[in-house]
């Protein structure tokens, strides 16, 4: 199969080229054969039963729902009722979800088949999927390298055709960066488009759920399926679906912004070359480009590593092993049980971030760190508003390097944090952004398209046009 995308698969099912059971079985066989450790839990029995139901529906010539029969992977920080949800942590190793996340409810309604829960960095904290209690995920393009994080399992699963699409979550780049490392499309909608009800919270003012797919069109289809104004998540906004036919139209007179002095950025040469090619492509397409001032990226990363750990320290305060979760059971008193359960339940990166968060919120430091970060955040939002008066979207590389080797950055957290330098400003400002592959060999390189708040239609239109015009070397198989 040339393309492993939603409409191609649907056609194949409806035209009886293959059965849904064959499709789902093929996914599970590949998962087992490839050994990427991209899944924490598999729903083999349920998925094959669902596939059988779909085949019966097709046999009786009934029309399929929009995502019916499509095998999907779900990041293991999104709750599916009755199933284990671990956040890739020992703390929740045996925790069973008591309700469906809103996005799960919506995908279920449309007939999607859940294959299982994908591996991630513990509590979504990481950029390499190496902090998972269940072991690292391998990059399908080069198994000595990381897939990126924190949605590493989801990105690897889509790239390796273990599923047709996956859901991930993005707080500082956790959908876009692994998408870039794995050569797939990763889309983070505007903050508030997708309900966070049923997403294990990391940083509540930054988290957003989004799709990882093999095409821009697929990310639009999935976005339309999961967006919602939900009473259970008060931060959700008007659910404006995107018009897929209009996404496929030309870019007209749109102006694309790119960072001034991008060639001076601290990024690998191959990334610079790839980006330079994109700017040439745009010239060839007759698209107007304009420089924008992106000199505040370092400060945006600093703001992020103040706000996110601060919110994480609050969100993870609930994990004490008492109402649920890991409990060592030999503590003498209440305080000891907190100290021990959290020591043994959490990995190092989680501990580091909780402690940083505790520090920046503590007496004597809160004003210098947290309150300052919030003020700078407002100014960053304002900077973007100004930029979008002159350009329709901004493009830049998604990451400063291609996928690095396993263990290469693991012992140096700050170096790991710098991997997110091009993605975090987007979450700080609540903007929509997508990463699509601009280079596929020898290692994938992602291009990021950032749009104004609530402007998904425009971001997807531009991304679609870029995707169609990029010249690719053959897909990985």
């Amino acid at each position: 199969m040339e393309e492993f995308t939603i409409n191609i698969i649907k056609e194949g099912l409806e035209d009886k080229e293959f059965s849904c059971q064959e499709l789902v079985q093929e996914c599970f066989s590949n998962i087992e054969k490839d050994k990427l450790n991209d899944f924490i839990t598999l729903f083999k029995k349920q998925a094959l039963q669902q596939a059988q139901d779909v085949d019966e529906k097709i046999a009786s010539n009934q029309k399929l729902n929009s995502l019916e029969g499509i095998p999907v992977a779900i990041k293991d920080n999104i709750l599916i009722k009755g199933e284990r949800v671990t956040a890739a942590s020992r703390m929740l190793e045996n925790y069973i979800a008591s309700y469906d996340a809103k996005v799960i409810e919506k995908l279920r309604d449309k007939g999607a088949i859940f294959l299982g829960k994908t591996n991630l960095d513990e509590f979504a904290m990481g950029t390499s999927n190496e902090t998972s209690y269940f072991g690292p995920v391998l990059n399908p393009h080069d198994e000595t390298r990381v897939p990126g994080g924190s949605s590493g399992g989801s990105a690897a699963a889509v790239a390796a055709r273990h599923c047709v699409f996956a859901l991930g979550s993005d707080t500082g780049g956790s959908i876009r960066q692994p998408a870039a490392f794995c050569g797939v499309v990763g889309f983070k909608p505007s903050y508030g488009r997708v309900s966070r009800y049923g997403l294990i919270a990391l940083s509540s003012s930054l988290d957003q759920i989004g799709p990882l797919t093999n095409s821009v069109e697929d990310s639009a289809i999935v976005f339309n399926s999961i967006l919602d104004q939900d009473q259970n998540d008060m931060t959700t906004i008007k659910p404006d679906k995107v018009n897929i036919s209009r996404i496929k139209e030309g870019m007209g007179n749109k102006v694309i912004g790119f960072p001034k002095n991008y060639y001076k950025l601290s990024i690998d040469q191959e990334i610079k070359d790839g980006f330079e090619n994109v700017l040439q492509e745009l010239k060839g397409m007759g698209i107007k480009t304009k420089e924008v001032d992106f000199s505040f990226m370092d400060e945006a990363l600093a703001v992020y590593y103040i706000i996110q750990p601060a919110e994480a320290s609050t969100n993870l305060a609930r994990y004490d092993g008492i109402r649920y979760g890991f409990n060592k059971r030999d503590a003498q008193d209440l305080l000891e049980s907190y100290l021990t359960n959290r020591d043994l339940g959490f990995g190092k990166e989680v501990k580091r971030r909780i402690m940083i968060g505790t520090y920046v919120l503590s007496e004597g430091y809160k004003d210098a760190y947290y309150n300052t970060a919030k003020r700078v955040q407002q100014d960053i939002k304002f900077r973007f508003q100004k930029m979008f008066k002159n350009v329709d979207a901004i493009i830049l590389p998604t990451t400063p390097s291609t996928a690095f080797k396993l263990s290469e950055k693991f012992n140096d957290p700050l170096t790991m944090y710098l991997a997110d330098i091009f993605t975090v400003a987007v979450n700080i400002a609540g903007l929509p952004a997508i990463s699509l592959p601009m280079v596929k060999k020898p290692l994938p390189i992602g291009l990021q398209v950032i749009g104004n708040f609530m402007d998904e239609q425009n971001v997807l239109n531009i991304a679609y046009n870029l995707e169609q015009n990029f010249k690719f070397i053959n897909d990985v198989e």
């Binding site: 209440l334 959290r342 580091r352 700050l414 944090y417």
Partner: protein, 89 residues
């Protein structure tokens, strides 16, 4: 950061950490906090900001009766339907 700062932080966070971790974290957290200090040097471009908070409609203050068996099953210790914890006072 000094080692006693790290120890204090771990107490505040209610997480016990080993001597080895105290050692590691002292350097790592110092580096990270040095980096995030960059916010102090940020050049603001705006003077005032308009609030962009949308007011969302609130729902009725009504109990949606939920079966809580699934939650009770996961208690670390229980007494019937009650969660049992260590002595507090």
């Amino acid at each position: 950061m000094k080692e006693e700062d790290i120890k204090k932080l771990s107490d505040l966070s209610r997480i016990k950490i080993s001597k080895k971790e105290i050692n590691e974290f002292t350097k790592q957290l110092s580096d990270i906090l040095d980096y995030v200090n960059k916010v102090q040097g940020y050049k603001f471009i705006a003077q005032k900001y308009k609030s962009d908070d949308e007011i969302t409609e609130l729902r009725e203050d009504k109990v949606i009766n939920k079966d809580n068996e699934d939650l009770i099953k996961q208690f670390s210790d229980q007494d019937g339907k009650l969660l049992k914890v260590k002595k507090i006072l």
